[in-house]
């Protein structure tokens, strides 16, 4: 039960970015993620990326991005490689790398996709690294999300690691009694069946008890819910939000009329 890792990526801090209202950050991520699809892709994506990177730097979370995005970067690299070599409209020779011949059309196509994906990914990273999930959910509930859905969202983040821990505990217990829990897949699969029984049973019993505990703490009370955390409703937050939405709006207008 001890030393269970939380599923949250949040890096505690007190920077300006940390203190921004979660909804403001959420709006930023959406606007920055969508803009490159509306305005000329590459310059817009680069600009948004630059802003996001600046915010990551200010919030001192830049280094935490690498493990988050490592796998995606690998995928993007292979897209660059494949498109550079084999894109169907490849015409203009660019350079040769050993046996591989790269073409401009494929590379620029792949670069456009990659920039958009990285832009979106870093935006989401920024949000998750500088925002407590519970704060984000709180803000959404304040804005009208059902408290029940909010509870499910936030408890999933906490309870899944708990279940993983109880699987570990039971695996240990079964290993101690001589059940094979390592080795070839088929052996482990056989060991897994007797394992999930207790996990599911104990989870069900716990779920019922937890449901009662929530109930008696007024979870279904027909009252207007209040929040421990003060909402950061400064006029600055509102200005930023309006500005972001205006930018998006202007982009759409430009797209329609240009």
């Amino acid at each position: 039960m001890k030393t269970v890792k939380s599923m949250s990526l949040y890096v505690p801090g007190n920077s300006i970015i940390h203190r921004l209202e979660p909804i403001t950050k959420l709006i930023y991520v959406m606007v920055a993620g969508v803009l490159p699809f509306i305005l000329p892709a590459n310059p817009t994506a680069v600009l948004c990326l630059a802003v996001t990177l600046a915010m990551l730097t200010i919030s001192k979370t830049l280094t935490k991005v690498i493990p988050l995005t490592g796998f995606t970067l690998l995928v993007l690299l292979s897209i660059l490689f494949i498109q550079g070599l084999f894109h169907e409209h490849n015409q203009t020779f660019l350079f040769r790398f050993g046996p591989f011949v790269f073409f401009k059309e494929g590379l620029s196509y792949a670069a456009r996709i990659s920039l958009r994906v990285i832009n979106l990914l870093l935006g989401i990273s920024l949000l998750s690294l500088t925002t407590k999930p519970s704060d984000l959910i709180d803000s959404l509930v304040r804005r009208g999300l059902s408290p029940k859905i909010g509870y499910v969202l936030s408890s999933v983040l906490q309870i899944i690691p708990q279940m993983a821990a109880s699987v570990n505990a039971i695996t240990d217990a079964q290993r101690a009694r001589g059940l094979e829990t390592e080795g070839p897949l088929i052996v482990r699969a056989k060991a897994f069946l007797p394992l999930i029984g207790p996990v599911i049973m104990s989870s069900l019993i716990q779920a019922r008890e937890r449901a009662m505990a929530l109930e008696v703490r007024g979870f279904n009370a027909n009252r207007r819910k209040t929040f421990l955390r003060a909402a950061n409703q400064s006029s600055r937050q509102t200005t930023i939000r309006i500005l972001l939405i205006l930018i998006l709006f202007a982009a759409i207008v430009w797209r329609i009329f240009a």
């Binding site: 906490q158 008890e209 505990a213 703490r217």
Partner: protein
């Protein structure tokens, strides 16, 4: 003022043949601290659930008779409404962690947010509850990273902060060491003094003897007796209902040391000592 009225309460869990609660009738006054004792399976936990409405609203089953808390008849009221009058802390503290909050402080706030309290009231109540359970130093910890005893205190604090008129605790000290148990009992004693009605199902007989105003003895779902600790623990047939008297009482019974006027036996160490000094003062000195 009658805070709890139980009349001819009968209850059977779904798909079982035996009554878990068998024709219970009793009343509790405001500000009393009541201990419920009885062997395993006597029905203590079931009675706790019945006092909060979770039986029969949550468990269904066959239900008869009547439970009235704070003027509300349990069977006719919603649990969410009852929750504002009666709080309960279960035996297993782990399942009482909401799982949606990152710190002990926020965890305690959960019920208060649902009650719609404003922020200043909330923080005042949380600080008070943290202080009362002596867990202020844990307020920024992750609820799931606490020890069983710490979690139990947090669970109690979470319910106390809601300031229900009635507080029901089902073996609240099962995860606590003797010192921790003592602190919990002292805390609820204080709450009872301030007017909260407290019901505790508990195995630790010595604690019940020292802190309860009255003790309710259950056996096979039936109410055997409901009286002061002195009267209850002076009964010579107590052990046949699966409950031993406190060791101090047993010793005094063996030595024939009684309170001169009431004829009951001492139930705590202090009482036993005083009674011995009174009776054998000369020879002890």
């Amino acid at each position: 003022m009658k805070k709890i009225i139980v009349e001819k309460l009968k209850y059977r869990y779904p798909m079982t043949g035996k009554l878990a609660l068998d024709n219970l009738s009793f009343t509790v006054e405001q500000g009393e601290l009541i201990g419920i004792i009885g062997a395993n399976g006597a029905g203590k936990s079931t009675l706790c659930l019945a006092l909060t409405g979770l039986v029969p609203h949550f468990y269904r089953g066959a239900y008869g008779g009547k439970v009235v808390i704070d003027g509300l008849e349990v069977i006719k009221s919603e649990i969410s409404e009852l929750a504002l009058h009666v709080g309960i802390v279960f035996q297993n503290p782990f399942t009482q962690v909401t799982g949606s909050k990152l710190t002990v402080y926020e965890e305690i706030a959960f019920g208060l947010e649902n009650m719609g309290l404003d922020r200043s009231e909330m923080t005042a109540r949380i600080d008070e509850a943290l202080h009362l359970l002596d867990i202020s130093q844990l307020k920024d910890r992750d609820p799931f990273q606490l020890s069983g005893g710490q979690m139990q205190r947090m669970a109690i604090a979470s319910v106390i902060a809601m300031k229900p008129g009635i507080l029901v605790l089902d073996e609240p000290t099962s995860q606590l060491d003797p010192q921790g148990s003592d602190e919990v009992f002292k805390a609820v004693r204080r709450l009872a003094k301030e007017g909260m009605t407290v019901i505790i199902a508990e195995h630790k007989i010595e604690k019940i003897a020292a802190y309860a105003d009255r003790v309710l003895v259950l056996y096979n779902g039936r109410l055997i007796d409901f009286d002061t600790p002195h009267k209850i623990f002076s009964r010579t047939d107590l052990l046949s209902y699966g409950v031993p008297a406190p060791v101090y009482t047993q010793i005094c019974q063996a030595l024939g040391i009684q309170h001169p006027r009431s004829g009951t036996y001492p139930v705590t160490l202090e009482e036993a000592y005083l009674a011995m000094v009174n009776q054998h003062g000369d020879s002890l000195c």
